[in-house]
């Protein structure tokens, strides 16, 4: 170690800067993690309020609150904001906070680029949201923006939508490169890949998925841009193109995207369940292999979203079989979690409650996904509320619950204070009930024949829609409680110990609570080898 390095090392003895500039200029992974998490929560509220507009309109048959054009804008923006603004940044935020602490790294590998990845997002979403106020309104063609509705028939704001997607893509790619490099290059000496906590594993694989598919999304929106402004014929049969081409390219991105939103969740749950079952995670190796298999399979199943577009039968069969296969590695994960709980010594603090609810409700969502994979049946399910029920089960009590579980689990480490357990449990039960009341009835509405993206519906769907809307408001408002709990915990509370949870394993529990601004400036010595 040379003297020069020592000189530039003095910042390690400093704490964070003061004021706003701390957040704007920071290169610290914890600060950036915090920024991501708050940003994501803000987007969750915005996207959630749009969902509430949708649910309020659907409370009863008839057009009460909004006109159909605006309803479509709400659906579109809700989907986009939840996917790209809420869930993805939340997981990137968790990765920022946790990956360096879990692998004993001093920070993320490329700290300035890390800050860049984050600060692109507010601009991107600012631009996306500003389309709501443009002439002709915001994008109204669904978050899947199928051509030609999104090209020839789109409002002018589509141009800004396209560029917003480009920005999000750039941000995600840089963020993921950072994660991959950190994990591959900055592990504490002696930590082998198969020693890494599962959260790190799942993120390694997620980052790989992101780097592979975000450019494809950029490619497809670029083709749109060219069709709109430069007269190309990618999605127009009149010039020898094909609207279905759009769907193929989109879903080549889109399907891996949904696993991008669930793999880190698997990692979170795999950290929490063993802690509160006081038992080692069952089948670590098979968890890793299952994650990798899911990621691999996710690249070759995309057209299960397109069973009704009139693909040749060979394509339909192939995509059906490939999709069904995903149930196998996912099942392995579910069974491993159950086996971890089995014969454990469980307690049910808030993170554990969210994690268990995750396992059950995600599985319900996964099973309905499997039903959707069966082509002839999907002809009846496709584009109905059955699909909406499916993906909200995997996304809301799936991804979102896992994020909340993670927040409760690591908040004491982040803030140094315990959150209020009673309020936490209340939040859980309200959310649990709310989510099921909202989305379970949507299975029925869907099977009974209500299509999605409808601002109004026939009378026979009225009852369950009403129930669903009530549930949505219960779930939505309980999130205010979550906000309150987090703020309360940040402000103060019972001091957390360093280990926080008895029996929690991993490097992050060996450092102080709250985690010091800089951790592991010198790599930690690893505890005795876990697997061998």
């Amino acid at each position: 170690m040379s003297a020069v390095i020592e000189n530039h090392h003095d910042d390690h003895h400093h704490g964070p800067d003061k004021g706003l500039m701390r957040w704007v200029l920071t290169t610290n992974h914890k600060d950036i993690g915090t920024l991501y998490l708050w940003f994501s929560f803000a987007m969750f509220l915005v996207g959630g309020c749009m969902a509430l507009v949708i649910r309020a309109e659907l409370f009863q048959p008839g057009l009460q609150l909004v006109v159909p054009e605006f309803f479509n804008q709400m659906t579109t923006m809700h989907g986009l904001i939840m996917v790209f603004g809420a869930v993805m940044p939340a997981f990137v935020g968790l990765a920022n906070w946790l990956v360096p602490m879990m692998i004993g790294a001093p920070d993320m590998a490329l700290p300035r680029m890390n800050n860049y990845s984050f600060w692109i997002l507010p601009f991107a979403f600012g631009m996306l949201l500003s389309t709501l106020f443009m002439e002709g309104g915001a994008p109204n063609f669904g978050w899947t923006f199928y051509a030609p509705l999104s090209t020839e028939y789109a409002p002018p704001s589509v141009t800004f939508f396209i560029f917003a997607v480009h920005l999000m893509g750039i941000s995600s790619i840089m963020g993921s490169i950072n994660v991959v490099v950190t994990i591959l290059n900055l592990r504490a000496p002696g930590m082998r890949l198969m020693d890494m906590p599962l959260f790190v594993w799942t993120w390694l694989i997620t980052a790989y998925l992101l780097i592979a598919v975000m450019p494809v999304l950029a490619g497809v929106v670029t083709m749109m841009l060219m069709d709109i402004h430069f007269g190309t014929a990618f999605f127009n049969a009149g010039g020898g193109g094909d609207p279905v081409l759009f769907q193929h390219v989109f879903w080549f991105f889109g399907h891996p995207e949904v696993y991008i939103m669930i793999l880190p969740a698997f990692g979170v749950v795999s950290a929490i369940i063993p802690t509160f079952a006081r038992k080692k995670l069952f089948g670590y190796d098979s968890m890793v292999y299952a994650t990798a298999s899911i990621a691999f399979l996710s690249f070759i199943v995309w057209a299960h979203h397109m069973f009704t577009v009139g693909m040749p039968i060979a394509g339909e069969l192939y995509f059906m079989y490939a999709t069904m296969l995903i149930a196998v590695p996912t099942g392995v994960k579910v069974f491993n979690w159950v086996a971890t709980m089995w014969q454990g010594s469980m307690t049910f603090e808030t993170p554990m409650l969210f994690a268990i609810a995750f396992v059950i409700l995600f599985t319900i969502g996964g099973l309905s996904g499997l039903m959707l994979a069966i082509v002839p049946a999907d002809f009846q399910y496709h584009d109905t509320y059955f699909v909406v029920a499916h993906f909200h089960y995997v996304l809301v009590p799936g991804s979102i619950f896992s994020i909340m579980a993670a927040a409760y689990y690591w908040l004491p480490k982040w803030t140094g204070n315990m959150y209020d357990e009673t309020l936490g449990k209340t939040h859980f039960w309200l959310s649990f009930v709310g989510v099921n009341v909202t989305f379970f009835p949507q299975h029925f509405i869907g099977l009974a024949g209500m299509p999605r993206r409808y601002p109004d519906y026939a009378l026979q769907f009225a009852d369950w829609n009403m129930v669903s809307s009530v549930g949505a408001f219960i779930f939505g408002f309980s999130q205010l409680l979550f906000l309150f709990i987090v703020i309360k915990c940040v402000m103060g509370g019972k001091k957390a110990t360093d280990e926080v949870w008895d029996g929690a394993e991993g490097l992050e529990w060996t450092i102080a609570s709250p985690a010091p601004y800089h951790t592991f400036s010198t790599p930690p010595a690893l505890p005795e080898r876990a697997t061998a």
């Binding site: 094909d242 009704t308 069904m324 014969q343 009846q380 584009d383």
Partner: protein
Amino acid sequence: MTGTEKRDQGRSGYLIGLKWLIAAIAVGSSWSVLADWSALNMTQGVTEISREVYDLHMLIFGICVLIGVIVFGIMIWSMLVHRKSLGHEPATFSHSTKLEYAWTIIPIFILIGMAVPATSTLRDMYDSSNADIDIEVRGYQWKWQYTYLNDDPAQEVKFMSSLLTPPDEFYNRAPKREHYLSDVDNPLVIPINKRVRFLITSNDVIHSWWVPDFAVKKDAIPGFVHESWAVVEEPGIYRGKCTELCGKDHGFMPIVVKAVEQDEYENWLAMKQQEAKDVYETVGKTWSMAELMETGETVYAQHCQTCHQANGQGIPPAFPSLVGQGMAIGDLDAHVDIVVNGKAGSAMQAFAAQLNPAEIAAVVTYERNAWGNDVGDLVQPREVNALIVAKE
């Protein structure tokens, strides 16, 4: 804690577990008795295929429920019994090769069990050969056009089918009647027990033609034609929906299919063919301004209003206003032309395919003289017809 105490605690844990299980089963079963399942489940439909699909659905649903019950049962049991508060000590195992193999391989067999019937049903659905009747189904923003294909084009029957529910009902100004949002002006009519092939395409954006009772759902993609078919076994009225987001009135373009006996179908077809002939007689005569305005108003309400709005103001910039500006008060030829030929790459369709020359003449005249446009000129059906013929 002594050994016996621990065992007692363990046993009380099991008892609690059992109690909960029984309670859960009780609640679950009473609920299923209360609910009216047919309103909550997929329809069985009225074709052989739709019943096959229903059976397939029930099969995979049953399997999923079974898996759910087993997995959640074990989890819940474990949650109730293996808890710290009951003094349960954690075991130390963390893998079991045998188990892990088992739960990788068994699911594969379950999946094969689902894939086999799915494959055979799909094969049946994809075999659209030997059709008795070919009908072209064409999606428009936001209505359907049906064409009964015939080797002799003069015999072809072609009509539009759009929503019948008046806006007053969806804006809550009138009570909602039965079949709210599910009724159309001209239903598709098909004979029972005949193999009807649908050739599905679109004029503008992607729509999707779904009739649940036939288990037919196929996307209508502009520039492409996809096939589907049905043999309907029972006469009746079957309702469906557009299931691909196609713009603002995606929720307002229902499908109604009327399946009738063969002779009734033939009568209906003959009547339609006659109607088409009659129309051309009216084209020859000279229409008065009042006649044109009166017909024009109805045509406008039926065909133009969704986009250009009842007051002609449109929803700019997506749908231009026709009041006091542009073609509606400008060049008559251009005005007729855009209604006849539409504007490529925009929602403005070529109405020559949907309206007869008299209707087009009427609606153009109406637009030029309504809402204070008061241009004062009119166009005769025969002039419009000449234009259409010249183009062909």
